[in-house]
């Protein structure tokens, strides 16, 4: 409001209410505290480690800003004073929160702006791979063998934490050689090798019954995944292929067979979900290794082997589709007698199924083992009908061998990116080196820098190396240069500058590593060359363009995978015996689901509340079965509606539910903490140093989880945090440790009621999701801080508060669209500016 309107109003107010003075700390906050807080937060009790009696001086609000920020958050959300105490007067409360917020805002406005200082960042493994790929058009992942990158503040792109060891340096040297030579001369041929995989937690006999026909009673021999991929006998791995070339996928079946009279069984191999080979096996499976020759591009691929249409070609009596036209072998039925006489192959087809589905040489030979066998009862068959097992087929191992005929020519893309001039033109070598160095260093390069690189090329020239050799050596030098390996943002030379705006090149790099985990592309470099990138309209247009580019999938993987922690699934091993449904296929499907979901929120620029309460997701048949969606068929992922299911948003997805569980059980604490940290932006403080023991005897062995947790919270030390974490976690308790629905935990029925930290009560996961999404500003702030940590490569500091608040306000104004978070961050002071720090600089003479 323009000032001139204010002037007449103020005296008027004063007139109307003669006693009102400007509200101050002493007139508003202090009395409120005395009334509502001191009873617990005093010198003696210091509940929650907070003694507010020492926070009564006038300047305390700014001096103890961190504490007061927390106070403001807790009293605004209604979390404090605790429910057991009388509610404060609403008007007073409003006045206090308003005054505190205004005081913070005033302070922030007057504070010297501090954009923070991002430490020079070494490229992490993902960034290294993407950068050399984008720079040189190669397609392998040289950083796969680099030492792991440590994480700080939850992300592995933190400048301070990314250190450089000797081993790392060795890897850089060796990778530089491989990368440069591959780009110039093509990949070095590799000796064919064989990698051998064994099925993940081998399946056991009867698993089919347990896994499918018992847990999925609607599935039958005529209604199942005909691709075979989701069946318990399929086998899935992620394999890294070193080179583009011909490989062989070799699958060896376990002992076993189908009922006598069946037609041959099909076996198929898949790469990235596409069937690449189909064979069939007749009779006994043992020893009948199948080979599938495939041509595969270098890099990681999802490889699977399964038995398609495995319930087809069975003897007609089984009731499967396309029954066998073969006669049932006579003479083998005589010794069984448990099935329908004459009809059941192998005399009842009883297969000795003890020992991991090893059938033995024939049905009839195993009748002695009848007690250990699993029979198949056709659905709708007359009572007492038992037939041979139909699931006695599995895989012992899978091998991937190769490459042969590896593509060892340099890719046309690489050649185009490198050889930009005709080598016979004088100075072409220098032109190439200058061109690549500018891209690799992501900024203009000085003649001295080019000279250094050319010195390497010239050294090669002197010893008589070819033009290509000379270029390759210069490239090697480029790729181990600190200017390539680090993103160094140089302070301006003028010593008087304390805070400065990044130049357009550094801005371009921040942008591209934030959204693409890689170097700026031609367009960004061009905008930087023109010096226009920092202009809001140019910058925003670039951001929108980048969000639409397919490289944005890297943001999902690197930011999303760490924020939502689905990266952890790579090494997460649920208890196989408790969760037999968990296998590599589910693991890969779960990650894919969340990636597609996240990706669609970006592509369609959906509101960020979709993360919390979307009533849609992406699923293949396996996940769909998990989610109770019966009409999704086949291995392809598609968008599905979750209406009518108890799942909403991220917290209904297998990836998040599994990553927030232990391997053998769920934990309301872990899940509650997950929500507080990643959704509500209210991470609980670390547990106290010496946690007192829970008195198990007092709890009793038969207590339900809820009872146990309540005993836990009866302890005052535990209660302060667990009273926030646990009730949130209970809302997801219907999902077990791999995200499958359950009504009971052991013997106890699940009670999925709980409460938000403010005390709002919900029942079950859907209400939890709805209620969380109504806290959209807290979530917007949470997402902003997480993404800012990732975008900047440093932790969010108190000096970033104003920026965060501004971004969050912008997100609300932008209808909570995903792009509004990204644009807010990109346009913020911490992203565009940097604090200078010259300590230690200039101490080494320039050489």
């Amino acid at each position: 409001m323009p000032l001139r309107y204010l002037i007449p109003i103020l005296p008027l107010l004063a007139l109307l209410s003669p006693s009102a003075t400007t509200p101050s700390f002493q007139t508003t906050v202090q009395p409120f505290m005395a009334k509502n807080c001191f009873a617990c937060h005093n010198g003696q009790m210091s509940s929650g480690g907070l003694n507010m009696q020492t926070m009564v001086a006038d300047g305390s609000v700014l001096k103890n800003r961190d504490e007061w920020e927390k106070v403001l958050k807790r009293i605004s959300s209604g979390e404090m004073p605790p429910k057991s105490l009388p509610r404060p007067n609403e008007a007073e409360l409003k006045q206090v929160t308003g005054w505190l917020q205004a005081e913070f805002d005033r302070a922030d406005k007057n504070a010297k702006p501090d954009p923070g200082r991002v430490t020079a960042r070494r490229l992490n493994r993902a960034e290294y791979n993407y950068t050399v790929q984008d720079l040189l058009g190669i397609s392998f992942e040289p950083a796969a063998d680099f030492p792991q990158d440590d994480a700080g503040y939850g992300f592995d792109n933190n400048g301070d934490v990314l250190s450089l060891s000797t081993v790392q340096m060795e890897k850089y040297l060796s990778a530089a050689e491989t990368v440069a030579r591959t780009a110039v001369f093509g990949a070095q041929s590799a000796k064919p090798v064989t990698a051998r995989y064994q099925p993940f937690g081998r399946r056991r006999p009867g698993d089919f019954d347990n896994l499918f026909f018992n847990t999925h009673p609607w599935l039958s021999l005529t209604n199942y995944d005909e691709s075979g991929l989701m069946m318990p006998n399929a086998f899935h791995v992620t394999h890294r292929f070193p080179l583009t070339g011909d490989y062989v996928i070799r699958a060896t079946p376990d002992n076993g067979n189908r009922p006598g009279g069946s037609e041959p069984l099909e076996m198929a191999a898949f790469v990235d979900g596409v069937q690449v080979g189909l064979t069939s096996i007749d009779g006994q499976l043992e020893g009948k290794t199948q080979e599938f020759p495939v041509h595969v591009t270098a890099g990681e691929h999802w490889v699977a082997v399964g038995f398609p249409r495995q319930f087809e070609g069975l003897p007609p009596l089984y009731g499967g589709k396309n029954p066998s036209k073969r006669p049932i072998p006579a003479g083998r039925g005589g010794r069984g007698g448990r099935g329908i006489p004459g009809a059941a192959p192998g005399g009842g087809g009883v297969l000795g199924a003890n020992g991991r589905g090893r059938g033995g040489a024939g049905a009839a030979n195993n009748n002695d083992d009848a007690a250990n066998t699993t029979f198949f009862t056709p659905p709708g068959a007359p009572p007492g009908t038992v037939l041979a097992r139909v699931d006695n087929m599995g895989l012992q191992s899978m091998e991937i061998g190769g490459p042969r005929n590896a593509d060892t020519k340099p890719s046309p893309e690489s050649l185009k990116k490198i050889f930009i001039c005709d080598r016979t033109t004088p100075g072409c070598d220098r032109r190439i080196v200058s061109h690549l160095a500018r891209l690799a260093y992501r900024r203009p390069v000085t003649p001295t820098e080019i000279d250094r690189l050319m010195a390497q090329a010239n050294r090669a020239k002197l010893r008589g190396d070819s033009f290509e050799e000379q270029i390759a050596v210069a490239m090697e030098a480029m790729l181990v240069s600190p200017s390539f390996l680090f993103r160094v943002e140089k302070d301006p030379p003028a010593k008087s500058v304390e805070v400065y705006r990044l130049n357009d090149y550094d801005l371009a790099s921040r942008l591209s590593y934030f959204l693409w985990s890689s170097m700026p592309d031609t367009e960004l470099m061009h905008a930087a060359d023109l010096g226009t990138l920092h202009r809001p309209e140019v910058l925003n247009a670039q951001v929108r363009r980048m969000l639409k580019d397919e490289k944005i999938a890297r943001l999902v993987d690197n930011f999303g995978g760490q924020w939502l922690q689905f990266r952890a699934l790579e090494s997460h091993v649920p208890d196989f015996y408790k969760f037999p449904l968990w296998d590599n296929y589910l693991r890969m499907s779960a990650v894919k689901e969340t990636e597609l979901f996240f990706g669609s929120i970006i592509h369609e620029d959906r509101p960020i509340t979709d993360f919390l309460n979307a009533d849609y997701t992406f699923a293949n048949q396996y996940l769909a079965e998990f989610y109770g969606l019966r009409d999704v068929k086949g291995p392809e992922f598609r968008k599905v509606s979750l209406e009518g299911t108890p799942r909403r948003g991220l917290m209904g997805q297998v990836s998040v539910l599994t990553a927030s569980s232990y391997g053998n059980r769920t934990s309301v604490v872990l899940r509650g903490k997950w929500i507080l940290e990643n959704i509500l932006n209210a991470p609980p403080p670390p547990p106290p140093a010496n946690v007192p023991d829970l008195d198990q005897a007092k709890v009793g062995e038969d207590a339900t989880l809820r009872q146990r947790m309540e005993v836990h919270r009866a302890n005052a030390v535990c209660a302060s945090c667990h009273s926030k974490m646990d009730p949130l976690g209970f809302g997801l308790d219907n999902f077990d440790a791999i995200g499958s629905w359950r009504d009971k935990d052991g013997k106890s029925p699940i009670d999925a009621s709980g409460a938000l930290p403010g005390g709002r009560v919900f029942r079950g996961p859907v209400e939890l999701a709805t209620m969380l999404s109504s806290q959209r500003d807290a979530f917007a702030q949470c997402l902003t801080e997480k993404m800012m940590t990732f975008a900047l490569g440093r932790g969010v500091e108190p000096s970033d508060r104003l920026a965060v608040r501004k971004i969050t306000a912008g997100v609300a104004a932008g209808q909570y669209k995903f792009s509004s978070v990204v644009l807010g961050i990109v346009n913020s002071t911490p992203f565009q500016m940097r604090r200078a720090d010259r300590t230690g600089a200039q101490t080494v003479a320039h050489r």
């Binding site: 792991q148 440590d150 000797t166 340096m169 820098e449 403080p685 200039q842």
Partner: protein
């Protein structure tokens, strides 16, 4: 750095190392390997540090009596064959793992302080700071005598997710070895990468002169980047400068390694097993191959300093293969329930069992006038004792080997007065002729390692 020797004949196959058993050899895959690189006539005393995460089931660890004739306990039982090669040390502490006013985060601190004896700075990343670790003090002194100054191995890949422990950077729980106060030496967790580091990954079909050329290129490139980083150093300040210093240090060390490699006139050996393709699925197989690689490195004198982390501090690994489906860390907060303790003890026993294979290999490997084990000091232990209560004292520690006559094993020594772990390190280093004034919180040397 890959040392490139000409491809080899089998005549020089390194014999006597138990690791050759069980793993088939594919001669096509064996690259050149420059080894037993005794550069001089001096004795080669090795130091190995093996770390087990999440404390120990002390109930099943500590022998009831001190002295020579103690009775083995469930976790130590597997060491009966090595009784005369082993010291059980009780009463050592890692004081700086304690909160000391910093609140929770005992696991991160246990990892960060175990070999440094320094209280890790409580930070999620901005200013990680602890101290130089004992192995690196040794590496600084004697690392230039071998091809690798030290080797850090880990049996838990940690593509890290989230903060590791109560606001502590993951660097503390991932790395036991610290090159400097803010430079962790993260362990290599991929057996193939370790293999290539030890035996080379270069294409053995390359002609010797091509390889020589490549090596010369690397040297020249390293020279070039040093020049560049020097000019950069003048223009950057604050933490950026620290990063450039780190870079420069790494470059210099790689250069030194190339020089050492070029100087050494060494016999050629074969690694004895094929290049591992990746990380085995089963933990037992994973740990075994890492131990085998370490044994190979020690016997061939590729390095004299090895750190092996069986799992990172706070590890959540589940051990289905031995019937323990619980995550290790949650299980370690057992609340003294006996069935939980039993399962935890099973994990501890699994670790000692795997480790005993390594000890056996070192004992079977001839080295000069004795065995590799005779000339080594192999420490096994954890930075927590009872991890249910996060106790950083009375740590479970074993010391194997004779340190070339400087240890008198075969006893259970109980230090009555809480004694810093770093005193033990100082003593070990002393016996390697590495004279350090102090390490972290050390107050002197420990007694009784040779006498009673």
């Amino acid at each position: 750095m890959i040392v490139t020797k000409k491809h080899l004949s089998r005549r020089t196959l390194l014999r006597g190392l138990g690791v050759c058993a069980g793993l088939p050899m594919l001669d096509a895959m064996i690259p050149a390997f420059a080894a037993p690189a005794r550069l001089g006539p001096e004795k080669a005393v090795r130091a190995v540090f093996v770390y087990a995460p999440n404390g120990m089931t002390m109930r099943d660890w500590t022998p009831a009596t001190a002295g020579a004739d103690y009775e083995m306990t469930p976790i130590l039982n597997v060491f009966e064959p090595f009784r005369r090669d082993m010291l059980v040390l009780s009463g050592l502490m890692d004081h700086n793992g304690n909160a000391l006013g910093d609140g929770g985060g005992d696991h991160a601190r246990a990892g960060g302080s175990f070999m440094t004896g320094v209280h890790p700075k409580h930070t999620a990343g901005k200013d990680i700071h602890v101290g130089i670790s004992a192995d690196q003090v040794a590496a600084d002194a004697i690392g230039n005598k071998t091809r690798l100054r030290s080797l850090e191995l880990g049996c838990e890949d940690s593509r890290t997710v989230g903060n590791c422990d109560s606001g502590y950077s993951c660097a503390y729980s991932n790395s036991l070895s610290w090159r400097g106060p803010s430079t962790p030496n993260p362990p290599e967790t991929n057996p193939r990468a370790v293999f290539e580091r030890l035996f080379g990954s270069d294409d053995i079909t390359l002609a010797p002169e091509v390889r020589a050329k490549r090596l010369a290129d690397r040297r020249s490139i390293l020279d070039g980047v040093q020049e560049q980083v020097h000019s950069l150093l003048g223009t950057v300040g604050g933490a950026d400068r620290r990063k450039m210093d780190e870079y420069l240090t790494a470059v210099r060390e790689v250069e030194m390694r190339i020089q050492t490699a070029e100087k050494s006139n060494v016999a050629e050996v074969q690694p004895g097993f094929e290049r591992p393709e990746g990380i085995p699925f089963e933990y037992g197989a994973y740990a075994k191959i890492m131990f085998d690689l370490a044994a190979m490195a020690l016997q061939s004198d590729a390095t004299r300093i090895v750190t092996i982390v069986l799992g990172r501090e706070g590890s959540l690994r589940t051990y289905n293969e031995i019937g323990v489906p619980d995550g290790h860390h949650p299980l370690s907060h057992h609340g003294n329930r006996s069935d939980w303790l039993d399962r935890l003890s099973k994990i501890n026993q699994f670790h000692t069992q795997l480790f005993s294979g390594f000890v056996a290999n070192l004992k079977a490997a001839p080295d000069g006038d004795g065995t590799v084990l005779d000339h080594s000091m192999v420490l096994y232990g954890s930075g927590l004792s009872d991890s249910n209560r996060h106790l950083h004292e009375n740590l479970p520690i074993l010391l194997f080997g004779r340190g070339d006559g400087s240890l008198k094993p075969g006893r259970h020594i109980v230090y009555d007065k809480p004694t810093p772990m770093t005193n033990l390190y100082l003593t070990m280093l002393d016996r390697m002729d590495v004279k350090a004034e102090s390490i972290g919180d050390s107050t002197g040397k420990v007694e009784h390692l040779t006498d009673l």
